[in-house]
């Protein structure tokens, strides 16, 4: 494998690691908190919201937005590290 290829596959591995972490959070807030564990979380009341219901109709969406911007930041850094930025 040439240096160029090595660099590319190292970059790809780090990228996949980020994807795995971010998508785990993505799954946890929507399918986890908003659906699978909704009943249990609903026993916790925050202001006028039951927590599970809040995650399903509000919280998960806020987290989604944050996830994408975190991804943008991480990838910009990663691009720089490997000299793929332009």
């Amino acid at each position: 494998m040439s240096d160029k290829q090595k660099k590319a596959s190292a970059y790809w591995k780090e990228n996949l690691r980020y994807l795995f972490i971010l998508l785990t959070i993505w799954f946890a807030v929507s399918y986890g908190a908003g659906i699978l564990f909704k009943e249990a979380l609903d026993t916790i009341q925050v202001g006028g919201f039951k927590l599970g219901f809040w995650f399903a109709q509000q919280g998960s969406i806020y987290v989604f937005v944050i996830l994408i911007f975190v991804y943008v930041r991480l990838m910009n850094k990663l691009d720089k590290k490997y000299g793929y930025d332009e």
């Binding site: 971010l22 998508l23 998960s60």
Partner: protein
């Protein structure tokens, strides 16, 4: 000034802006027509994507659906936003790096096959046509209620406007009109929501108002009151819902994956300059969408509580003006079953006397809350912006599928750039006319099919694209088999359980519910069909030849963000 006067003024102003932009941003080449020349800034693209994405369904119907479904409505909120995370992380940057004009372009090149391209074109057309008819209906609805012209005239006016800027400007015209339309629609959605939130809870931020106590000094939380009212009338508690957990899970997944696989959303990411910009504009798009999507559930709670308070057990003769206005359109109907002159609104179908169409909740909300005339008119302009922007985006996908993927890539490869541009314009014109026809004469199944369009996109495009990027060895045999099996199964399930085609027609649909596979509704079945698509692709791939080295090199190349160059059609 009357509501109607205000509506004429606001709709007139916004339409002149759209036409002005169309003239200013005419497309001169296919590249401008398909991808706006490829130089759109991430924020502008984010705004355009948001307007493109938020259709008449998001603006007009969604809050109404949630108002009646309560917690069950969460599937739309999570499904239609969570898809952007998938889009941003798994698709947009790579497709931008790939640098072509359309989704079938990617499928065709990545899977080195005309068959794959044709399957993709068919899927794109199927998804887009069902979707666009729904938009035209939305335009007709707004016109007929607010400008008191009939539905047909309304749809025709809408058609002319869309035709004007989509045909003239292509993607370039559409992009900048969508930026303007985003501003109009978000303003129109937020203003009444803020008014009502303040009115009901004293908190002007709807997202917080939803979880606050009522303004009447009782100290009761709004959601608590609504849960109480709902159960009292025999409905499920608002915050609990009635769908099974597995179905909620499946529908959410189908909508998320479907969103990420919708061609008119994906192509928006071909319009930015660099891979970096594609990622960033996905972030902007979701942020701008989230403003509406976190407000909508609050609007649902306000509207539902207001409606029950206004109508239940109140004398029919004392109903406010908006009630009779909506009665004329047939979207509210009252039948005094027990002859007491009062409106009984309950869950029990035999006693219930009031039928309310879910679509009017957002449109009627400002009137129910007694807001000033200009706010009511603003909602009309916003609804039109939402419907028109999405219709235009879809028409572009339809026209580029025909002119680029069929004519240029399959039937007449030697066509000149200018010739292709005219074919694209012709195809857009024909598509507008067909969409308008369905808007005026909606086949009963349009609304149902729009929801299922996501299932179709999930079952076909998403696995093929993701595997194309993340699985270098995926070959054409696997991808084609996966797409065909996925979309066929989805269509079969839809016909069987949504239309009752094999069991004696629509009337059989209710009875078939107990036969649903794994207890999953047709709306959620796209997630099962998607999984099957993945499995079939991978199994078939194992028994068929590897993709050519050249294709594997392409995959390696799209994984590296630098050197994206400009989108090309060649």
């Amino acid at each position: 000034m009357s509501v109607q006067m205000w509506t004429y003024i606001l709709v007139g102003i916004t339409f002149s802006i759209y036409i002005g932009i169309a003239i200013w941003s005419r497309a001169g080449s296919t590249k401008e027509f398909y991808v706006a020349g490829g130089g759109v800034s991430p924020l502008a693209n984010g705004m355009a994507t948001a307007a493109d994405w938020m259709s008449a369904a998001s603006f007009i119907s969604m809050a109404g659906i949630i108002a009646f479904a309560g917690y069950d409505g969460s599937v739309y909120l999570m499904g239609w936003t969570g898809g952007y995370v998938l889009l941003a992380l798994l698709l947009a940057p790579y497709l931008r790096k790939f640098g072509k004009f359309t989704v079938p372009d990617f499928i065709g090149d990545r899977y080195y096959s005309k068959t794959a391209r044709l399957v993709a074109v068919l899927c794109a057309l199927l998804v887009s046509f069902t979707y666009v008819a729904g938009q035209m209906q939305g335009v007709g609805l707004v016109f007929s209620r607010f400008l008191e012209v009939d539905m047909t005239t309304g749809v025709i006016i809408g058609m002319i406007i869309v035709l004007f800027y989509a045909v003239l400007g292509g993607m370039k015209g559409i992009t900048y009109t969508q930026v303007a339309q985003y501003c109009v629609l978000i303003f129109a959605f937020m203003v009444p929501a803020i008014f009502i939130s303040f009115q009901m809870t004293g908190n002007p931020i709807p997202q917080l108002g939803m979880g606050s106590t009522l303004n009447d000094g009782s100290g009761v939380f709004l959601l608590e009151k609504l849960d109480g009212l709902s159960t009292e009338l025999g409905f499920d508690a608002y915050t609990s819902g009635s769908k099974s957990m597995i179905d909620v899970f499946a529908i959410t997944l189908a909508l998320m994956v479907g969103t990420a696989g919708l061609p008119h959303v994906i192509v928006r990411f071909f319009t930015v300059k660099k891979v970096k910009d594609a990622r960033k504009s996905a972030g902007w798009a979701l942020l701008l969408i989230a403003i509406l999507y976190t407000t909508a559930p609050a609007v649902s709670v306000f509207a539902r509580t207001n409606m029950i308070d206004t109508v239940n057990n109140k004398p029919y003769a004392e109903m406010p003006e908006w009630f009779s206005k909506w009665e004329i359109t047939g979207l509210i109907s009252f039948e005094d079953k027990n002859g007491d002159g009062l409106i009984q609104y309950v869950a029990d179908k035999n006693i219930n006397e009031l039928k309310v169409n879910r679509d009017i909740m957002v449109l009627a909300n400002p009137e129910i809350a007694n807001l000033p005339a200009w706010v009511i008119a603003l909602v009309a302009a916003g609804g039109l912006a939402a419907a028109l922007s999405t219709a235009a985006g879809l028409l572009l996908v339809i026209s580029s599928s025909v002119s680029h993927d069929l004519v240029k890539k399959v039937f007449k490869p030697d066509i000149s750039d200018l010739g292709e541009l005219w074919v694209a314009r012709g195809a857009a014109t024909v598509a507008v006319i067909i969409a308008g026809y369905f808007g005026i004469n909606p086949p009963g199944f349009v609304a149902a099919v729009v929801a299922l369009a996501f299932g179709l996109a999930a079952a076909s495009f998403f696995p093929a694209i993701v595997l194309g990027i993340f699985y270098k060895k995926m070959n054409k045999e696997g991808a084609i088999a996966g797409m065909v099996v996925g979309i066929s199964l989805m269509i079969f399930y839809m016909l069987k359980f949504k239309f009752g085609l094999f069991d004696g027609g629509k009337s059989a649909v209710e009875g078939l519910k107990s036969d649903w596979w794994f207890g999953i509704s047709p709306e959620g079945f796209g997630s099962v069909a998607m999984l099957l698509n993945f499995m079939v692709s991978i199994v078939i791939m194992r028994f068929t030849p590897e993709p050519p080295i050249k294709v594997q090199k392409i995959v390696e190349d799209i994984r590296i963000p630098s050197g994206a160059g400009e989108a090309t059609g060649h």
